[in-house]
């Protein structure tokens, strides 16, 4: 039994992934950041739109196409680390600038990470299950686990599952101070070859309409596994266990999508996982498209669905080539800041 079937996907990223998808040409970073191509906001009342932070706005814009035609999900399940942070700092600044004086509460109210899930419930008058997982680099993985349990408990329901993170300027500063982004200027094409510490800052949102029905589904999400560790051996062991548990006899991974991000300190984890794959498995990378952010695996899942749907695969994502025709099963491996690792297994529906 898979965890759930994915029926619709939507993604706003630094690449052309929304509306008419075209990821053949790479969009470049601006000021060392891979920033999303924000669509013109439609379908949101002006007064509401004005109060939304960028993260909430792009999350809502990505979600709305999945909630058309009277689709009423039984729940909204979001993973995010940073949603609300932009407002958080605006309020902080107000507080310092006005020495705890008379402050306007707008930023404070919008500063909680559950702003996206709650904004969606308000816009759609959705009284269903509503949750926001904020566990940094595993926030989206927990949202997927949550959605999987919800569907097992209520097999006939639809759920909106998604993730969002943006790059609020203060957050960029904090992560830069902590050494997570490359300081030197570089061309995006060189991200994986520089062999220096740090990655490139990024942002994005991806939304999925999921349920327990295999009919007309895009993909089946078979399993998610997470582990907190900095030991490469523990990661390998968990991957071995994950594959043994979830792959059917003789089944092989067609494509491994890794979260390789150009940070020389993290490369060994990715290489270790690549080495555990049979020689027939192709390898794809995606962080040059969206940059590094805590819920980037939502972008990877979107890309996995895109590949399984037999869309044209651009050469810039390929690290080791694979047969696009027969691609049935994809494994995503990602790690965030070296300590949070996840494995996500997805396949075309109905094949296992």
């Amino acid at each position: 039994m898979p965890m759930f079937y994915i029926h619709q996907t939507s993604c706003i990223s630094p690449q052309q992934t929304f509306d008419s998808v075209d990821i053949s040409v790479l969009h470049q970073p601006v000021e060392h950041k891979l920033k999303v191509i924000e669509p013109v906001a439609t379908g949101i009342p002006m007064g509401t739109l004005r109060r939304m932070s960028k993260a909430v706005r792009m999350g809502v814009m990505a979600a709305l196409p999945l909630l058309q035609d009277g689709t009423e999900p039984a729940g909204i399940i979001i993973g995010t680390a940073n949603a609300g942070m932009e407002d958080c700092f605006y309020f902080l600044k107000q507080m310092v600038d006005y020495n705890e004086g008379l402050l306007t509460p707008g930023n404070f109210v919008q500063s909680t990470p559950n702003a996206l899930a709650s904004q969606l419930s308000m816009l759609k008058q959705n009284h269903g299950y509503n949750i926001t997982h904020v566990h940094l680099g595993l926030a989206f993985e927990n949202a997927m686990t949550d959605a999987g349990m919800m569907i097992k408990e209520n097999p006939r329901n639809n759920y909106l599952l998604g993730a969002v993170d943006d790059i609020p300027s203060y957050n960029y500063i904090l992560n830069s101070l902590a050494g997570w982004f490359k300081k030197e200027p570089f061309a995006l094409e060189d991200l994986y070859t520089l062999q220096t510490p740090g990655s490139i800052a990024g942002e994005g949102t991806a939304m999925f309409l999921v349920n327990g029905n295999p009919e007309d589904a895009i993909a089946q999400l078979r399993a998610v596994e997470t582990i907190h560790t900095e030991e490469e051996e523990a990661v390998k062991q968990r991957l071995k266990y994950f594959l043994e548990k979830n792959l059917i006899n003789g089944e092989e991974i067609d494509v491994l999508i890794t979260g390789e991000n150009g940070d020389s300190r993290l490369l060994h984890y990715y290489l270790a996982c690549e080495e555990m794959m049979p020689h027939t498995t192709g390898i794809a990378r995606f962080k040059h498209m969206c940059g590094e952010y805590p819920t980037a695996t939502a972008m990877a899942l979107w890309l996995g669905c895109y590949i399984l749907q037999k869309n044209p695969v651009p050469s810039h994502i390929i690290k080791k080539s694979f047969s696009k025709k027969n691609c049935k099963t994809i494994l995503i491996y990602n790690n965030y800041k070296g300590g949070q690792h996840s494995f996500i297994l997805l396949s075309v529906p109905g094949c296992f």
């Binding site: 299950y129 940094l136 097992k152 500063i173």
Partner: protein, 387 residues
Amino acid sequence: MGLITAIGDSAAKNRMALSLGKCGISTLELFPSKYANSLPCGEIKIGTQILAQKLNATEPGITRTTLLALHAFEEAILDSKLTVEQLSSFDTALIGASTVGGMCLTDELYMDAQKTENGSEYINSYDCSSVTMYLQQRYKMAGTISTINTACSSSANAIMYGARLIKNGLAKRAIVGGADSLAKFTINGFNALHILSGERCTPFDERRKGLNLGEGAAFIVLEREEDIDNKKVYAELTGYFNSNDAFHPSSLSDEGFGPYLSMKGALDSAKLTPADIGFINAHGTGTENNDLVESRAMLQLFTTPPPFASTKSNIGHTLGAAGAIEAVYSLLNLHYQELYPGLNFSQPIAETGLMPVDLYTKTTLQHVMSNSFGFGGNCTSLIFSKS
């Protein structure tokens, strides 16, 4: 179970203080704020350094929120006699919750955000997940780990998520809870919304003037019924439900749709009827909006509501920790078969006429409901039952 609040640094001390009707809401002493004297808070009068030393957690970058979480977590571990091996096993989940996280260090955060180099020791500690992550690292936990932030219902949802992980076979046991510490950020935020009271809060009183913020942490160890053997058991988690009010970012709808749905859903999930509930640990913040709306929803669902009260009159509103702290209080209600008095009540809300329990009462309790409602319309109700 384990907890720390303004009325005590253990479950036993909290029970004693609740029984005696003690209030921990007072003048802010441990950090400077313009409002230290005018807005009373449920502050835990133990300095952050002392907490760190007591807990042997003096590594750099640890925040007060994390220390409060660790305090409650360690008590819960000790109480449940979990071994080091059990803690670090694949099938032990840890689900935390926080809304403030490392943001309690408001000034440090502001300074760090202006820098281009030499960040402070707290550079990786500001977000909510840093609290859970510290516990994970300290106890080398390898199961499912999450942090939930649904504002003031965060830790009620952490309890629900942990229980569902067990139910779905994704964990054998789950350590669930939450922590929040007082911060200039939240004091100013709630003050800007004009919902903080300059006096001790008076939940469900006609003349209520708003809420008092508090701080604290609580953790509960959940295990499957078949694994209980002869372990100490406080109660059974029999019902839970999460619903969204879908009305306004910072206030509840007049008719209390979300609160009604979460209470009703929890009853349905526990296969209970309204008449089965012996006590409601209400959200009862003491704000104009919450107490009226929660009362209306209770009246709609129960017609004649069972005894209810809000412990926020003892410890203030501990935000992301509130759901877990009040869950522990519900366990105390059930385990000791007693009700604790809500404080500062004098006059019922004219429209509803509902009166909270205001005396310590020995009683016979089978099922207790605990409500948590948060910003963004996030409403969650839990039901605990005598095992």
